[in-house]
């Protein structure tokens, strides 16, 4: 089956999944976006502008890095990572932000709305808005606002307005809803959505803007190893980095594609964010896909140490690919993700984002079942600096508290001096 062509030509449906389930008031904006995107994806001038921006702003292509020490220690497959953390602003998110911002400019938009979980999409959106002269408002669940504080600061420094959403569980889902409500009130704004989720055209559009990741992996892997990977592994929250990595390989049946969901701290509802493993089909936030929900169709709370995976839904494209058996799904727990961060730091000198660490955690298990003749590529979708306060609290809580006490003491001394 030609998965790639189907996605590009889908008009919003991937098998039964996808669609455009939004209030009528948003249909004009989505139709304008659909038509704009249809025109751009075939437009050589746009494509060259897009790829030039990916190169000039982002420094693409990003590195493709062997993990010799960990591979040797495991004694199974040869591991490689695609370092999307080297993108400007620290994650793959900026790929689709540049694409959507260029589209917004073409449509004459002046104001951008975005949601963010870990803050990576918001940070990237704020950066491209500053660069392209667009006004920017980012919604972020209050819990994420607190736990991903460095990214809040960067967004504000870049001139964005960051709104901490106090509704519900105060995580990504609530940020998405707040962004949609802003859009209903301001339908001439452009909603720069941060994953391969949401109503048509977002799933296909963000996949289109992210597919450069897999295209680079293909050529980098071939030139380094002379072959295609046996398996590609990516973490899955909404699915943007996974679709970016997987898309180019969808029609290469010999390449296993594995999505790793957030196993959180347990298997009960509310303790994880594994929607393809434990969710049911439903219609929410504009699209038909798998969601974590109860038997009555109410959306469940989720939990993950990584804010970027802490979300109830998943790309309708991944739902379709899961049903088709083309993409396999696994889970990694909070603990396993934290352990993977530490292992990569100590043994390879790399600090991945907690989101990406889920992919590593599973890939280490997988590698042990394979042989050194096998090649496994992991998408390191983001770098870990943003997780400073989470990982430091886990690995060095005393040092973090000592630093906080130091800052407070310094401030009170300053107050006395005045």
């Amino acid at each position: 089956m030609a998965f790639r062509q189907h996605i590009l030509d889908s008009e919003g449906f991937f098998g039964p999944y996808g669609g455009c389930f939004v209030p009528e008031v948003l249909l004009p904006a989505l139709e304008e976006m659909q038509q704009g995107f249809e025109a751009l994806k075939e437009d050589p001038q746009f494509l060259s502008e897009f790829h030039q921006a990916l190169h000039q702003i982002n420094g693409r292509p990003t590195a493709f890095t062997p993990l010799p020490r960990i591979s040797a220690a495991i004694g199974g497959a040869q591991l490689f990572l695609k370092n999307e953390g080297l993108n400007h602003t620290g994650a793959h998110k900026i790929n689709h932000c540049i694409g959507q911002a260029l589209l917004a400019k073409r449509l004459g938009k002046k104001r951008i709305i975005a949601e963010t979980g870990a803050g990576q999409h918001g940070y990237a959106t704020a950066a491209v808005c500053a660069r392209f002269g667009l006004e920017c408002t980012v919604y972020m669940g209050k819990k994420d606002y607190e736990r991903q504080r460095p990214n809040v600061y960067w967004m504000e420094l870049l001139g964005a307005t960051v709104v901490a959403v106090e509704d519900g569980s105060q995580t990504l889902n609530d940020a998405v809803i707040a962004a949609f409500k802003d859009w209903v009130a301001n339908p001439t704004s452009f909603y720069l959505l941060g994953s391969a989720v949401g109503p048509h055209p977002y799933p296909a559009m963000n996949t289109f803007f992210q597919k450069v990741v897999g295209e680079e992996i293909r050529s980098q892997c071939e030139s380094l190893t002379g072959r295609l990977p046996n398996a590609c592994v990516a973490c899955v929250g909404g699915g943007s980095n996974a679709m970016g990595m997987f898309f180019d390989f969808l029609d290469d049946a010999e390449v296993r594609l594995i999505g790793v969901e957030a196993g959180g701290h347990g298997k009960q509802p509310g303790e994880h964010a594994a929607k393809l493993l434990d969710g049911q089909p439903g219609i929410f936030e504009g699209y038909y896909s798998y969601f974590l929900q109860d038997d009555g169709g109410n959306i469940s709370n989720t939990s993950s140490v990584s804010a970027g995976l802490d979300y109830c839904g998943v790309s309708p494209i991944l739902a379709w690919l899961a049903d088709a058996g083309r993409v396999e799904f696994e889970r990694a727990s909070d603990e396993a993700a934290l352990a993977a961060v530490q292992r990569l730091a100590r043994e390879e000198g790399l600090i991945p984002a907690l989101e990406s660490a889920h992919a590593f955690a599973y890939a280490f298990e997988l590698a042990a079942t394979l042989t050194p003749a096998d090649v496994v590529v992991i998408n390191a979708s983001g770098r870990g600096e943003k997780d400073l306060f989470i990982t430091m609290r886990h690995f060095q809580e005393e040092n973090l508290l000592a630093y906080a006490r130091h800052l407070l003491q310094h401030q009170s001394q300053k107050a006395f001096a005045v």
Partner: protein, 242 residues
């Protein structure tokens, strides 16, 4: 004659029994149409008042779709002639079963259903056999889209007063006149309701100049919370259009 009011409430808030009492109060004060909302954990198009009511009805009261249908059955038994519309987000009725839900409504004398996140011409909407969906339109609906909707023969149009979420301050978007004129010409039999942000008799008076029904939601929930539902109903419903 009083100007027709469509009065909204969230079933199961603050409890199932109390929402039934509110509904009876609405009817007793002369509300022309009841709009009963099935609570959903994440009402994506509602403002803070209705969102909070939904959350409590779901989390604290554990209100199920079945409970809502029971409430509806009780009302229907007591008020066989009362016009009632149901409102739900897609996922709740999708999970219940769209065909089963449609059949249940029809058996209880309810023909109209408002689903804010389900475009009325979506293939999924066709599973709601026998039900007439209510398009919820705003001033930005395109000419072609509006013509297509009018061709689909809806008999009630719900217009958003302006670009906002429910329970915001009231304003009437100037471009709504264009939408109203097109509906009046293309579907002269259809009724037009205007809602979003209506809380005072003055606002009902403004709506009465353009529409057939004023839709009130958040303001009634707030009145109920503050213990002055009957006064609020009296002021709003008692307003005479003449």
């Amino acid at each position: 004659m009083n100007f027709p009011i469509m009065a909204h409430l969230v079933m199961g808030y603050p409890s199932l029994a109390e929402s039934l009492r509110s509904a009876e109060q609405y009817i007793a004060s002369g509300c022309r149409i009841l709009e009963l909302q099935i609570p959903f954990s994440h009402p994506t198009a509602d403002g803070p008042v209705i969102t909070q009511a939904c959350r409590e009805a779901v989390e604290r009261e554990q209100t199920r779709v079945e409970d809502c249908l029971d409430l509806l059955a009780t009302l229907r038994q007591r008020y066989p002639e009362q016009e009632i519309m149901l409102m739900s987000y897609t996922n709740r009725i999708y999970h219940f079963g769209l065909k089963k839900f449609a059949a249940a409504l029809l058996s209880l004398g309810v023909k109209h259903l408002i689903v804010p996140d389900l475009p009325v011409d979506s293939p999924i909407a066709r599973q709601l056999e026998g039900i007439t969906l209510v398009p919820v339109l705003a001033a930005n609906v395109g000419e072609e889209r509006l013509a297509r909707l009018i061709d689909m023969d809806f008999d009630f149009y719900y217009l958003m007063s302006d670009f906002k979420i429910t329970g915001s301050t009231f304003s009437l978007h100037p471009q709504l006149a264009r939408v109203i004129a097109a509906i009046r010409t293309g579907a002269p039999q259809a009724r037009i309701g205007i809602g979003f942000g209506i809380s005072t008799p003055e606002q009902v008076r403004v709506v009465a100049q353009h529409a057939d029904v004023a839709i009130v939601g958040s303001a009634l929930i707030q009145a109920q919370q503050r213990g002055h539902l009957s006064q609020t109903l009296q002021t709003l419903v008692g307003y005479s259009a003449s």
